[in-house]
Symmetry: none
Subunit: 206 residues, 2 copies
DNA sequence: CGAAACATTGTACTTTTGTGCAGGTTCGCC
DNA sequence: GGCGAACCTGCACAAAAGTACAATGTTTCG
């Protein structure tokens, strides 16, 4: 029982091969081929959003558990695709060990999605999060002023705008930012913005 | 790492022992004992319905994955308990093989519930959780290459990293970005990253 | 009171980002 | 063959972003 990866580009073939000895890849879904697999993995284009659910549904129809792999996972997306019948929803570039983990879960009747999404999907409170190191932001570590700056960045504001809003100099904004980056372990405002919105970032390939 | 079963009656002890060599059973929750387990299984009384969620929460607080075992599984119950932090929800009298299956799933970060409940609970979540903004990005306007760049930015990657990943020069990445900003109507990579994750950004005055 | 944390800002400098201008290539299509 | 779209790139430049070092005032707390 192999794993079938459906991908247009096939760029990640090597990664999949690393995860599963029996990984197979194809550019389109062949129901007959899918039927013989332990699970079907779909690489989702960000484009053609409307087609994604249909793609999942088609794959599900083959009767094997389907895992959707999104380049940019989101809560809404996870909902839609799980509802379309996917049993797993993960980052497209999840590490091989994680892929194996997901396969294990899904092929035994479970649902899998990134911890941070599980949390939000079920509406859990942060404190209650179990198993994996949930990478909860240590927002408590921030001072009140730093928090204000961080929040603005989380909404896409520039240093100048933040300075204006808080009635301080741009230099001070930068000072706060340096402190924030250090405390939260991110390297620039983009990663901060994403982290503030509970989105895992690049270096954190989990 | 054993499995800890919390049960008032202890009637099903033998079944649990059959499922797991390392099964332990107790009548009440001892946080210290729970902390040393692979998973905690709660037998839920039908009586004292109000207490069930609290019981789950207490168990979850110990930091180990919790499976709720209900004598009469129901959709509403499943949702409530998963929301309380349970990672699994099953019939109290599930067969030993199934218990093992569930353990496998839950201890690897998955969610488990009876198949027939899965779809319904997912459907329910949609109604319970505030639906995210419908703001649809015009991702179709992006060319395939631009999309790749945008996705990387959405994960916090720098231009250098993107260039490396796509095997192109940093200059080209910048060229793509300029096109992306224009097409999507954002002004910089931070706003792009947020937009790609369906997060509304600071209202740009200019 | 004095240490420590916080907030603020300046000067100066490095690095990243983003743009303008000016080219190249390839590929499909009329 | 010509044309346009997408892709790729170099040089130059401006504008942000971020860091290093330093300093001053305020608040907080033991």
């Amino acid at each position: 029982m192999s794993r079938l990866f459906i991908s247009r580009s096939g760029q990640l073939r090597e990664r999949w091969a690393a995860a599963f000895e029996d990984a197979r890849a194809d550019v389109g879904l062949d129901p007959a081929a899918a039927a013989g697999c332990a699970s079907v993995w779909l690489e989702l284009d960000t484009a053609r959003a409307a087609r994604r659910e249909a793609a999942v549904r088609d794959a599900v129809a083959a009767g094997r558990p389907v895992i959707a792999m999104a380049p940019v996972p989101s809560e809404a997306d996870a909902f839609a695709l799980l509802q379309a019948g996917a049993r797993g929803y993960c980052h497209l570039e999840a590490a091989p060990e994680q892929l194996r983990e997901i396969a294990l879960v899904v092929e035994h009747g479970g649902l899998w999605m990134p911890p941070e999404l599980t949390q939000r999907v079920l509406g859990l409170s942060l404190r209650v999060v179990p198993t994996p190191p949930p990478q909860v932001l240590e927002l408590d570590a921030l001072t009140s002023r730093e928090l204000m700056v961080a929040e603005q960045v989380a909404r896409g504001a520039s240093n100048r705008e933040i300075a204006q809003t808080l009635s301080i100099s741009e230099r001070t904004v930068k000072a706060h930012l340096t402190a924030i980056f250090d405390k939260l372990g991110v390297r620039d405002r983009v990663q901060l913005a994403l982290a503030m919105n509970n989105i895992s970032t690049h270096s954190t390939v989990n």
